[in-house]
């Protein structure tokens, strides 16, 4: 049994933590939070690129580092812990994974080296309005290689250069690669619950696009990309949730009420124990997702669903109970608690809400049970 990261991967994680502690203290995150004109931390983005993280999982033939997905998992955990205000997930977990999964040789040769070099910021454009986007609600259309439609919210849509867009072509849903720097694309920044991450409304008017994968495969591909992203996002959630527990614990040990530290009251001790339990469940599920992702196992859809559901639950619980443990001071803008509360919402919604994943998980368990 070797259900753990290797020493090399742990070393990388440790290095990533040191790097982000130096380059991404919450004072830097707050600059993106507080300054409306700032959509992301460009200096951090460049520094992360210099670490080679964009290309960590991209094969060497496309100028990546050619490491596995496990290396990406440990990096993701540290980015989540640091609440990093950069478009890493959009670019690396969604765009790069999508191209590696279904891109033609030409698409790979064009995009992957540029992603690895930090010349591309990615985005995933699926949602068009309130509720779940399905084949029957999907409005965006492609005709003769031109895309028309409106997508919102698109995470990092205001800063991205390339997007994967879900749209119908001849009535069949497909995923399309769009160049967002083209004048046919209009962007409007959106206010979101998590201003430390960028989001936009994208309007496409006869925008030139190239299809990714086969016609009619849009939702299948989207699910496969989401599975991959879900595992990596789960590591970000584990990192954030563990940081919340540390913050809550450290405050509970220094804050006095009624003549003793609040960490000596069972109401607080049991709350923190509950956070710990959820965090460990999330971590164990994320590890299994990492294994399935790295080996391309057939269990990936089930493993990714479990990792996502546990990750969403853990980070949500830890981020809200961290505020509760802090009491009034935790409700102030100056305390960092709300950075995690906000990010936990962003991470829970970005690849589809937990309820969607629960339904997907149970459908798969049902099929398995019926087949047995």
């Amino acid at each position: 049994m070797n259900f753990d990261f290797s020493d090399d991967q742990k070393f990388l994680k440790n290095e990533a933590r040191k790097f982000l502690e130096a380059q991404c203290p919450t004072s830097r995150v707050r600059k993106v939070l507080d300054e409306d004109a700032k959509s992301y931390d460009e200096d951090l983005w460049k520094a992360v690129g210099e670490q080679g993280w964009f290309g960590a999982a991209i094969p060497e033939e496309y100028n990546g580092l050619g490491l596995g997905r496990l290396e990406l998992c440990v990096i993701a955990e540290e980015l989540g812990r640091a609440v990093a205000p950069i478009p890493f997930a959009s670019t690396v977990y969604f765009l790069a994974e999508g191209i590696m999964l279904a891109g033609s040789e030409e698409q790979k040769a064009y995009l992957l080296p540029r992603i690895a070099a930090g010349e591309v910021i990615g985005a995933m454009a699926v949602s068009e309005g309130p509720g779940v986007t399905t084949a029957s609600t999907l409005q965006a259309t492609v005709e003769g290689g031109k895309l028309n439609g409106v997508k919102l919210p698109v995470t990092d849509g205001d800063i991205a250069t390339v997007a994967l867009v879900l749209a119908k072509e001849n009535g069949k849903p497909g995923l399309f690669i769009a160049d967002l720097t083209d004048p046919s694309v209009t962007r409007e920044a959106l206010k979101t619950l998590d201003p430390t991450r960028d989001a936009a409304r994208l309007t496409f008017k006869d925008a030139p696009v190239r299809r990714l994968g086969e016609a009619g495969q849009g939702f299948d591909l989207l699910e496969q990309i989401n599975d991959r992203a879900a595992v990596l996002l789960a590591f970000e959630q584990c990192g954030g949730a563990d940081r919340c527990l540390e913050m809550a614990k450290s405050y509970a040990l220094e804050r006095y009420a009624f003549g003793r530290v609040i960490g000596s009251y069972q109401a607080i001790k049991h709350k923190l124990a509950d956070i710990y339990v959820k965090n460990e469940l999330a971590r164990s599920n994320a590890y299994y997702g990492a294994w399935a992702l790295n080996t391309g196992a057939a269990e990936l859809p089930v493993a990714a669903s479990a990792a996502r559901i546990a990750g969403c639950e853990a980070y949500w619980f830890a981020s809200k109970e961290n505020i509760q443990t802090h009491g009034g001071i935790g409700f102030t803008w100056e305390m960092d608690c709300h950075l995690h509360y906000r990010r936990s919402r962003q991470l829970s919604l970005v690849a589809g809400a937990p309820r969607v994943w629960k339904e997907r998980l149970v459908s798969q368990l049902e099929r398995r049970n019926a087949a047995a």
């Binding site: 259900f3 960490g263 790295n294 639950e313």
Partner: protein, 411 residues
């Protein structure tokens, strides 16, 4: 990252598998008897234990001189995994070999160790642990059972009092018991541990009729039970420290709750009519719960895999292994209740010939309250995580520096 054995582990697993194939029973006769409570079951359990001991598999990590194999924890885990694939009889030796005998081995003299360790490992003698009392379960240091020096100057001790929730007392040969020896000292400083002969006329065992209908536990009464001073384990009034050694082993010995789980629920929900005449599994509320239970169960499974990985590398497992029962016992209760409510009015029927899955959910529902209490209540386990894992302070104690006899007692 993978789930494979190391070459050494694979070789050991192969060796265990071959031995089990040659020696383990292939088919269980009649209903399973998890504790080996019936006399037939007990005889089968003892015979299987003797076979394991003769081959060195009874306590794999113990030194060879004490009947073990001098093996490592991962080998014990591998043996348990392989053994669970066979319909072996119940294991009434766990408490003795997991907690009592290690305490005897730590604190008794050579002669006593030689007398007891062999018969225990071979399953010839069964041990029970006598800690909980009617006045205190979680609060072990509140023990009121008295041990006093015999007035005849022999140095013997006379024990009077009552223990409760003693697993397996009805078929145990020996036990370790914690007693109050100095009521004038603060509670933690006035207790002493002894080993006792459960067949002594001064010991009376009465089964407890549990709310689930079963009787796996007992009350044990001591009336002028006379023990030699040589039966003392550790120093006089130092029993608390001795009990910590025993309980340290308990954390390793008490596993998670089992019972009907998510897959039984799914199976049942596919076959039970739901709100609109379709199967109950179409109910969105049930689907979300099912997803949550699956994710919890998977989380625990892979937490065990992480623990095993640490053992495999020769490391001490991290604190994550402590979360098991908190999750599994509550889930057992909630899942059983949802399964019963899914049956609507029919759910009240607790007859194995009528209830789905032979009444497994009803049985789970009725035993779950005990799972949330045994081996550390939900609340005590949260305290343990908060204090030992997260390093939060212990509770403020009002009973620490007060003589035991002056403590308020309530009912």
């Amino acid at each position: 990252m993978d789930f494979k054995d190391t070459p050494e582990e694979a070789a050991y697993r192969q060796q265990v598998r071959e031995w089990l194939n040659a020696n383990a029973p292939k088919k269980r006769e009649g209903e399973p008897d998890p504790l080996g409570e019936s006399s037939d079951g007990l005889a089968a359990s003892k015979a299987w234990q003797a076979k394991k001991a003769a081959a060195g598999y009874a306590c794999i990590t113990w030194p060879k001189e004490w009947g073990g194999q001098g093996g490592n924890p991962i080998q014990q885990v591998i043996f348990n995994q392989e053994e669970s694939a066979f319909p072996t009889p119940g294991n009434p030796f766990q408490i003795g070999l997991g907690m009592c005998v290690p305490t005897v081995m730590t604190f008794a003299d050579e002669e006593t160790k030689k007398r007891f360790v062999g018969p225990a490992i071979r399953g010839e003698e069964i041990w029970c642990q006598l800690f909980s009392e009617p006045s205190g379960g979680s609060d072990v240091a509140g023990a009121r059972t008295r041990a006093e020096r015999a007035p005849d100057g022999s140095g013997d001790w006379i024990i009077n009092g009552q223990k409760v929730w003693t697993t397996g007392a009805q078929f145990s040969d020996f036990g370790i018991v914690i007693c109050r020896t100095n009521p004038d000292a603060p509670k933690h400083k006035g207790m002493t541990m002894f080993w006792i002969d459960m067949k002594d006329p001064g010991v009376e065992v009465r089964p407890i009729h549990q709310m689930s209908g079963g009787s796996g536990f007992n009350e044990v009464f001591f009336t002028d039970l006379r023990v030699k001073d040589s039966q003392r384990l550790g120093a006089v009034d130092d029993g608390w420290r001795v009990s910590l050694v025993t309980l340290m082993n308990e954390r390793l010995a008490v596993g998670g709750a089992s019972g009907a789980g998510w897959s039984a629920f799914l199976e049942s929900a596919r076959q039970t009519p739901g709100l609109d005449g379709g199967a109950a599994i179409k109910d969105q509320a049930l689907r979300e719960k099912l997803a949550d239970w699956y994710v919890q169960a998977e989380g625990l499974k892979h937490t065990r895999n992480r623990t095993m990985t640490a053992l495999s590398k020769g490391e001490t497992p991290g604190p994550e292994s402590s979360i098991g029962k908190i999750i599994s016992a509550v889930q057992m209760q909630e899942l059983a209740n949802s399964a019963v409510e899914m049956l609507d009015q029919y759910g009240i029927i607790n007859d194995p010939s009528l209830a789905p899955l032979r009444g497994a959910f009803q049985a789970s529902l009725m035993s779950a309250p005990g799972m949330r209490i045994a081996g550390g209540t939900d609340e005590i386990l949260r305290n343990i995580i908060a204090e030992r894992v997260l390093g939060l302070p212990g509770d403020i104690r009002v009973d620490k520096d007060v003589a035991f006899k002056d403590l308020p007692t309530g009912r």
